[in-house]
Symmetry: C2
Subunit: 298 residues, 2 copies
Amino acid sequence: MIFCKAGYSVCLYDNVAEQLPSAVSNIRTLLLDFESKGLLTGAMKTADEAMTLVSTSTSLAEAMQGAMFLQENAPESLDLKKKIFAQLNELASEDIILSSSSSCLYPSLFTKDLKHKAQCIVSHPVNPPYLVPLVEVVPSADTKQEVVDRTMALMKEIGQAPVLVRKEVNGFLLNRLQYAVLMEAWRLVEDGVCTPEDIDTTMTEGLGLRYSLIGPFQTIHLNAPKGVKDYCERYGKNIETVCNDQQNVRAFSGDTANQVHEAMCKQMPVESLEEARNHRDRRLAALAVHKKNEALKK
Amino acid sequence: MIFCKAGYSVCLYDNVAEQLPSAVSNIRTLLLDFESKGLLTGAMKTADEAMTLVSTSTSLAEAMQGAMFLQENAPESLDLKKKIFAQLNELASEDIILSSSSSCLYPSLFTKDLKHKAQCIVSHPVNPPYLVPLVEVVPSADTKQEVVDRTMALMKEIGQAPVLVRKEVNGFLLNRLQYAVLMEAWRLVEDGVCTPEDIDTTMTEGLGLRYSLIGPFQTIHLNAPKGVKDYCERYGKNIETVCNDQQNVRAFSGDTANQVHEAMCKQMPVESLEEARNHRDRRLAALAVHKKNEALKK
């Protein structure tokens, strides 16, 4: 959906051929929604126009024929990624980029033995990618610089916000930050300091309001009269003290898992999670429109 | 400003008397801005009406005369808080609540030897409090339950979003979560995984978009087909692995402090920080209006 609205021809492949018609239908629905909200501001101005660029194939070889860029979107399993990338390696031309949507597994884990490893990279989108622009671009030590540059340029061109992860680390940037938050949230609940709901309120009514506009470093730069260094001098020692206290890694299971699960199920029962996800996406879409309009006022 | 727009009479006191006229003038400016944006939805419907509730005094005893609630807003210094609370203790009636705006220092540190310690509590607002509704309410072991209950109720009544911190911990909830994020961001930059700008992009174009709408636990509840417990089973082990890797506490000084400071100064030079803070607040105000309108659509 993101590639075709930017003007690129896209051929979809799935090993379960029955998935293809519903994928195409989802893309059309999303494009029409974007069109109605005035969000189709790329090369394609209407959903119909963008849809002319979408095709499907039940043959992987055919789908890859003449392609400049391939985005693999299989589940996060190392065995599966290895199997798929071995297959892609067989079919790859000399200039196609083989890009994985992996969210934690870094590329060398499933590409290091391949002939075309220099053409392999991770471009991790964030769900839902048509509303959340971040893409984490993660090359391995074997990835050619030209492949890194072309991937970064392509992601910018299609309207995403790529960041370059310069070393292969488990969880990249987004999940490492998210896991640091989650682990501290877990400790606070496990130690009886607050309820799970209080953690969510602290984020949505406090820290998260800032974080949708300014990042952690921009935040501290603004939070001391003379910027980051001033902030470090004023608060650095206390931050180190608090963080020394955050070393205890907890298990994501047992009583705390039950407590958090039950608290969340009271708000959002498991059987209504799909509805809750749709609600989240509607709010994210409205937030995307809001941020776009505000940025134009600058 | 927040108390008077909700209909409470407020008497301001400052030990530097010259601060009082500018404080009053700031409140008027903010109220007029809120009025023009349609955000005066509490008891007072106009800035003029709210301003009739604001008075000042150059005598602390006079300012506290007949008051039900006192909010102390001095800088974050333990010596200072001790000095001020000793003074407040001398002047306190039997039913006034003595509330501190402390952001990290917990109440027993500066109230445990006071006669009126059962009436002392922390109510930590987040800057700017008229745009960011979170308030962290932190009683000490000596605080009366009735004082906790009245403080929570008052914060809700004036339109803030209070959370109750049930144990005295350094940094409460917001700063503990923020410090966990900051420390991991610091490690990633120090270890050459990414630039400071990439950390901010990861937040503002990725994780932070979600966090302005749904908290960390709501996020994971939605991110596995069957909610939190399903998420823990799928991803718990890997989160624990990543967090085991996040134990190394770094110093907030040296080369990394220089690198982060310079990167931020390129975006926002120290001499323009006040302007950048105003811009942040304008965007926060617009976000507050946006979230309010969207919540009404539910």
